[in-house]
């Protein structure tokens, strides 16, 4: 058995003190220890993107990150995307409007990835969206609607910023 380790994580703006086996990934910490199951476990090997979250504002894979590695680094999950009074993020709204999912399992990862993709400025064309969203697989094949949702959210966010 592995020794447990005391960790203090900052998740969606809230400090969480946890006692975890050192092997615990950020993904398992979120799902199993802080009741945030919105982040999904797909392949658990960094190949599907379902577990995408933001650390220090950048998209990363929580399945290949140890919880211990993010001490002192703010984590944002799909649950932390809406405003405090429950208004959905523009990307969430766009995914609903464009019906950008079928089974929905990859969707939290797609949305977290899309929010970062827009922030990075990688939504200049549909081809660029496809390239920079390629780390998020959708086995239902909702890709055309996902591209449309990201394109739409990107322009609505740009307009809002003007």
């Amino acid at each position: 058995m592995s020794a447990a380790r005391q960790l203090s994580l900052e998740i969606n703006g809230t400090r969480r003190d946890l006692n975890l086996d050192i092997r615990t990934t950020l993904l398992d910490a979120l799902r199993e220890h802080v009741d945030l199951p919105g982040t999904k476990k797909g392949c658990d090997h960094g190949q599907c993107g379902a577990c995408t979250v933001h650390v220090d504002g950048e998209r990363v894979l929580s399945c290949l990150t140890l919880a211990a590695q993010v001490e002192g680094r703010p984590v944002t999950t799909i649950e932390g995307l809406q405003t405090a009074d429950g208004v959905l993020h523009a990307v969430q709204t766009a995914f609903i409007e464009h019906d950008a999912f079928q089974c929905g399992y990859c969707t939290p990862g797609q949305i977290m990835s899309a929010v970062a993709c827009i922030r990075e400025g990688h939504t200049g064309s549909d081809d660029q969206i496809r390239e920079y969203m390629s780390g998020n697989l959708c086995r239902c094949g909702a890709y055309p609607h996902i591209v449309a949702a990201v394109r739409d959210a990107s322009s609505s966010l740009k307009e809002a910023a003007l």
């Binding site: 960094g46 290949l64 993709c117 390239e131 390629s134």
Partner: protein
């Protein structure tokens, strides 16, 4: 997963002294290491988290050399304006690799230490026989599904491919790996990686306790006119079926080759420099026919293991197309 001790270090000296313990691995982005730990391929007893070491994530482009710190993220190097301008091949070989998420995690030093994607190597439960994991146990890939195994640099002990892209660019342009351990040393990238021969478990020149602290690439004219062509089974987020890092410098006439650099990825057991092809092109005016003739020798000595014969046919085409792109030949 085997359990381990985890320590986060604040400076390089502490990292190096921690790494003197047996069965230790440095943890940076973790994108290869944690994956292989889950598969029981990597079983370290100690993890030394080096992600918070100060001063190792710098990117510096001066008049004669490019220096990149070992902890610089792939995404940051790929998007660095001076790198994109001075060395397109470096940027392209980074952004055409992995996914945006993985590139935000993976460090440049860790990228050099990426291990093979050989499916037999990655599956100890089903395939105990792997000379890379367990020297002397045999190679399951030789008689297995080996469509994505190497055709160059192989031995009868191992045909596992070197999977990376960035190191292919470094090999084409004479990069140097900067290493710190008990002493500091500089290892030419082409010598850094070892051929499998009868010891495929030995993959590189690093000794236990040594840490990659950065890389250097000399700025030559061909680096400015460079390109990374990566051909794969799907358009993005896939390892290379065959790739080429190339660069060219012309004489004043704009068509005679003064300098040319070519290295291959996705087909060999290590990043594969094509010096003979380079020599055949130097001093000559080039057109499509010259390039295709020279590129045909890119696979001299190549050997198929059954399913991967297509790589031998594909590789010269990839080399020729990459050179035509940098040579502005339609």
């Amino acid at each position: 997963m085997r359990t381990f001790d985890y320590v986060r270090v604040e400076n390089t000296s502490a990292a190096i002294s921690e790494a003197a313990k047996p069965e230790t691995r440095f943890l940076a982005g973790g994108t290869t290491l944690l994956d292989l730990m889950k598969l029981n391929v990597e079983r370290p007893a100690h993890l030394v988290d080096i992600t918070r070491l100060p001063g190792l994530d710098t990117i510096e482009v001066s008049t004669d050399v490019i220096r990149i710190g070992a902890l610089a993220k792939m995404s940051k190097v790929a998007a660095h304006a001076d790198i994109m301008d001075a060395a397109p091949v470096l940027s392209e070989s980074l952004w055409r690799a992995a996914s945006a998420q993985l590139r935000n995690m993976a460090s440049i030093g860790g990228n050099l230490m990426q291990r093979t994607r050989c499916t037999y190597f990655r599956d100890p439960g089903a395939y105990p026989n792997c000379n890379k994991r367990n020297p002397g146990s045999g190679c399951a890939a030789l008689e297995g599904i080996n469509r994505n195994h190497a055709v160059l640099g192989i031995s009868d002990a191992c045909i596992a491919i070197y999977p990376g892209d960035f190191a292919v660019s470094l090999v084409a342009f004479d990069g140097t790996v900067l290493v710190r351990g008990k002493v500091e040393r500089r290892i030419p990238i082409d010598e850094f990686y070892l051929l499998p021969r009868q010891t495929p478990n030995l993959e590189h020149q690093l000794s236990p306790g040594e840490m990659i602290v950065g890389i250097e690439i000399p700025r030559v004219a061909a680096l400015k006119r460079s390109h990374y062509l990566k051909v794969r089974d799907r358009a993005s987020y896939e390892f290379a079926a065959a790739s080429a890092a190339v660069g060219i410098e012309f004489e004043a006439d704009g068509k005679t080759v003064r300098d040319v650099r070519i290295a291959l990825g996705g087909v060999a057991t290590k990043p594969w420099r094509l010096r003979a092809v380079e020599e055949a092109l130097k001093g000559k005016p080039i057109d499509e026919a010259t390039l295709r003739t020279a590129a045909a020798t890119a696979v001299d000595g190549a050997k198929s293991s059954g399913h991967n014969a297509f790589k031998i046919e594909l590789t010269p085409k990839v080399v020729a197309r990459a050179l035509m792109t940098v040579g502005d030949i339609a």
